[in-house]
Symmetry: C2
Subunit: 416 residues, 2 copies
């Protein structure tokens, strides 16, 4: 493993082709922000763009802000930009929902496309919000649809059989950053006639994604992490072209309808992905997402991925050197190719460590029960920040161990 120094990391910054992106974000002074896996930072263009939309489209335009051409143009611009980020065609992407609703609806659509199959297969470690949406569908079906969860140490493939309608997985695991192989998973799912629904929340914007090339059937993704769309940003969904004409999403209407404002009666939805827009997404939230996606879409994703991997590898190496024997365990895969843009470490006092780090200006986060996570955003984090974060992390952990009066060689006993 390479031995990193502050100078070596600064040298990487000097030749980093992405370094100019940092000025496109408004970051608090003196803060090393390593938590875009929760919320991406504020792009510099966003405040003025929002002020303009509020003043012009709402204040001046008034009800015209709700009219179809303006709303559709914004949704289409977003669909095009996101399609490029995930290796899809614009007409396979619909923006403006909520991740729970998207998962619920696509799970329902998957069961609908696989008559005779009743199982949605997922992982117990999935995000509770995601599982709840799928569980909600199962409850609503009164037992006709069943959610089967594989345990932590159990391969998904073991439970994949011809009873499974759809495999529902996170591309990058929320806790550990573990990355799944979409190509392999879609092949395994299709092998038994099942579909694949992927949650891209922790990968979109942080690495190249090839939904079409990997034969993914459905996908969803958050707008508030690496897309920098703001707290509670609208989500997006993907439906592979081959399913477009047959998929029905129970909640979708209006924007994509052939006759969106017809008062006569409910009409059948129009053709294409347009019909999968949820009614009346927030214009303000969409505009903020547009600003975030616009910055991210300018970056070369292979470069973003390479920098995230190099940053997390350097961090892991630095932490490993400084904190061997302090009870800090890597909870993420060791291979940078097998994880996303964030790294997780376990420690019994993870929560206190994350708080102390935040007080020292390094904002990773705590994840129950015992994880400290650090997310590397190649567009706003420098390599030098990797050094600073590792130094502070080591200081905080070592101070805690010393303050507890236990020798650093036996940090486990410091738990009492």
């Amino acid at each position: 493993m390479r031995r990193w120094t502050a100078d070596a990391l600064r040298a990487l910054d000097a030749e980093d082709p992405l370094s100019a992106f940092r000025d496109r974000f408004l970051l608090p002074r003196g803060c090393v922000y390593l938590n875009a896996h929760t919320l991406g930072p504020l792009p510099g263009d966003t405040p003025a763009a929002l002020a303009r939309v509020i003043e012009e489209r709402w204040g001046e335009g008034l009800a015209r802000a709700c009219e179809r051409p303006g709303e559709t143009a914004l949704l289409e611009e977003l669909a095009e930009a996101i399609a490029r980020l995930v290796g899809a065609a614009p007409h396979e992407i619909a923006v403006g929902g909520s991740i729970s609703v998207d998962l619920f609806e696509l799970s329902a659509a998957a069961v609908d496309l696989r008559p005779g199959r009743s199982i949605l297969l997922s992982e117990r470690r999935s995000l509770p919000t995601a599982l709840r949406a799928v569980q909600g569908l199962c409850e609503l079906s009164r037992g006709e649809i069943e959610l089967v969860l594989v345990e932590e140490d159990e391969p998904l493939a073991d439970k994949l059989d011809e009873r499974v309608a759809c495999l529902v997985v996170s591309h990058v695991d929320d806790r550990t950053g573990r990355l799944v192989d979409l190509q392999a998973l879609s092949a395994a799912a299709h092998e038994v006639g099942a579909l694949l629904l992927v949650d891209l929340s922790h990968s979109v914007g942080a690495m190249p994604i090839e939904l079409q090339a990997c034969h993914v059937d459905f996908a969803v993704g958050c707008g508030d992490k690496y897309l920098c769309g703001g707290p509670g940003a609208p989500s997006f969904l993907f439906v592979a072209e081959r399913h477009l004409e047959r998929v029905r999403l129970p909640l979708r209407g209006r924007v994509g309808d052939a006759e969106p404002f017809c008062v006569e009666s409910a009409r059948p939805p129009g053709p294409g992905i347009g019909r999968f827009a949820l009614a009346s997404p927030s214009l303000l939230a969409l505009e903020a997402l547009r600003c975030g996606v616009a910055v991210v879409a300018e970056a070369d994703l292979p470069l973003v991925r390479a920098k995230a991997m190099r940053s997390s590898e350097a961090f892991r190496a630095l932490v490993g050197e400084r904190l061997a024997g302090y009870g800090i365990e890597l909870a993420s895969p060791e291979d940078p190719l097998a994880r996303g843009a964030h790294l997780a470490f376990s420690h019994p006092r993870a929560e206190a460590i994350a708080s102390a780090l935040a007080e020292h200006g390094v904002r990773g986060d705590f994840r129950r029960p015992d994880l400290v996570r650090f997310g590397f955003g190649p567009l706003w984090n420098s390599y030098e920040e990797v050094w600073i974060a590792a130094e502070r992390f080591a200081e905080v952990v070592i101070e805690r161990a010393l303050a507890s009066g236990f020798p650093p060689e036996r940090p486990e006993r410091a738990r009492s």
Copy 2:
């Protein structure tokens, strides 16, 4: 019918206790805005409040903007304010969803609470978006739940029987402004053991509403009309306290969960209305809604209602005097107590009339197939604007009739 003059209307403005509210909104110059039934105007406080939230909570606070205490405080403030507007307790209100999702989930919850009943009863004239959400539930149930629609001229009560799980109605009809009697409807529904779900989108903020006193079971409402929460503002839902502990909404999670960020597994939702918050509503959209609701909540709703009725009555009288014989028909109920804050008139050239009016600074709207609508917002519209709007409406219609070369006595023939 009283004969209104410009002076009489100006005199009403001079003594209007609500007149000071007009300065709380940013309205375009020279525009008589009569379309809050589509989108409420921009409150003056909103741009700065949004800029502050973007800068402080997102830009400075970063991931803390997604943390539960801040998010919950905003949702609770909104729930309290909306509860006062609709005659409910704050713990019966959850804010932050989408109207389609809310209708879908509450319809599902209603069927769940009425085992053995399979019918959701609604009106064919309901908003297509609303019907689509309920239809989506029926499709998902594979025929176990059925949507039955009564026709325009058919009383709902005729179809209410013990097979009906829930009656789903708009408080104020989107097209005509017709207002239903919530007390009578809930009594009729409960008489046969059915529940009542009301869409308050066109009434909330425009009149006093007493959900508890009227024994309404469930309700939903938009934030973007008389609540002035902006284009695509978050919706709210109401669950009567007596149902709170038994209702399960399939898509709800996170914010209200007992352990919202627990990574161990999906937990059962916590108690109370908190569990009915949809995951991750947009902070920007919520803040805009907070600003709108804050202004509306300062007003005395009986005064708001009285002014809306008087405005629409004056408008109707003025239009009646000027346009008798021009093919303009009132599509709204004649009794102001039987309608909400907007008035609709039918005319075969409604679309052209609405466009011409907008060019002359009067912004009502066109509703297919043949309606021109005018909504009176007592907090931002003056009585004098009623005069201006009626004058322009008459000018536009008469000009059109004259231009067609037909005598104004026979305007029907001008249709050719």
